[in-house]
Subunit: 144 residues, 4 copies
């Protein structure tokens, strides 16, 4: 089993323990070295008062995609925690589903910076609805 497979395995195992992401209906759809994709089905558990997907849910999938993208580049025994993120909400998050892809911009021993883009898909259309940048700090792996 290669390191990358191990890394993807660790991301999948970790994702399955994320109670909140399950509660809001997110699924992990792709794990590559330095890039992770998470999808969300709009529904009652992730809506705000106007019927759009809540900014908190958009942020949750974007931040998680960015964090796991960073995680894929960590050596064994190391995990990451988000220390900060900023998100620009570009358009109302409505559509058949949301797709958040996180990409590592700069991997470091202590700090990693990653970015995520969230698209809303409606039929054939794809629209960028959010742009996130995050700083992740590497810490010794506890149990996740």
């Amino acid at each position: 089993m290669t390191l990358q497979t191990n890394s993807a395995e660790r991301v999948r195992t970790s994702f399955d323990k994320q109670g909140m992401l399950r509660a809001i209906g997110a699924t992990l759809t792709d794990v590559q070295p330095g890039s992770v994709t998470i999808e969300l089905q709009p529904g009652p558990a992730n809506r705000q008062q106007h019927g759009y997907v809540h900014a908190g849910a958009v942020s949750a999938i974007a931040d998680t995609a960015a964090g796991y993208a960073a995680q894929t580049l960590m050596p064994e025994g190391r995990t990451v925690l988000t220390t900060e993120f900023k998100i620009n909400l570009l358009a109302p998050a409505v559509g058949d589903r949301l797709v958040a892809t996180g990409e590592v911009i700069k991997a470091g021993r202590t700090l990693t910076v990653a970015q995520a883009k969230v698209y809303a898909l409606s039929g054939e259309n794809r629209r960028l609805v959010a742009l996130l940048s995050a700083t992740l700090i590497a810490v010794d792996h506890v149990e996740d």
Copy 2:
């Protein structure tokens, strides 16, 4: 009925329609002109893989508190949407409960800037776990 009561009423009515906040276990505990407080009970529906409250849940209550703080200062028929926020996660979000208070920093006709602080309460202790700043844009009220 005064304007402020109206405004608090509108915030409460709107909050009750927020499916996601209900799904993750958030409650609206205080509404003042320019200041709103939301609480969260840590539990399975808001945890991440290490057992802390998920950054997405911390962000959701912080962003919502900031947004409603801005909403309280809006004239009737106007509501707000978050255009961006940044959050610094200062310490793991663990405790008996989380308390997010949003405050308006600068109210404007088009844009309002608000801040939120999230504290984790454990017994007698109170610890600042997150600091958020957000920009809200005023839009014509649809139905919330």
Copy 3:
């Protein structure tokens, strides 16, 4: 004369009035619709205490590149002001010169979101040293 030429002209005329950018040694090197590049020669007027280019100077060229990128897409009589930006400083800003390119991510009637990347060039090497995202608001053009 095309609209785009007009727009590039307006950006160049505006840039020449930027006292601060001149003071720190920045030059405007490229203006395309939705994309603007600004360069900076490291020197005494833009250094911090360790001899690197000051984060404030890196931010100034990144924010300006993002802002002018937004400006190129504005109709005549409208200009933009930065309402917020966030910058991740990825590596010490050292090199022969810094190159900041701003690109529009989402153009809107009221708000535009743009991003800028700053590279440090040293001989043949190019290294990403900063990533910025900004919100710009369109306002009626006074005199710039």
Copy 4:
């Protein structure tokens, strides 16, 4: 000589080496443990094209005030670098002078989060023009 005096001394010595801050006309006016104030006289070397103080100059004094506030709490032999900051520009930066005060929000061994507020003073009036939050990383002191 007390630790605090040492710390204030180190901040003052470091500030004097900041070529850029000198170039744009900034002065260090107060250093307390966890809090630092920097002032700026609006003038040709810090203006943008509309005659306001350039967002880059506002950011430079705000980021520097936040960074030095963090620096005052560092043990000897350790210094800080800004890893990211976000600034909300709340009003045009015009006035007799700008006053930026940085305050530590959470001091840590590796990361410190600080905030800065920038006020514009005009005669008797004081107006909040910018709000910044920053993450600083502690590194071994080279020579500053």
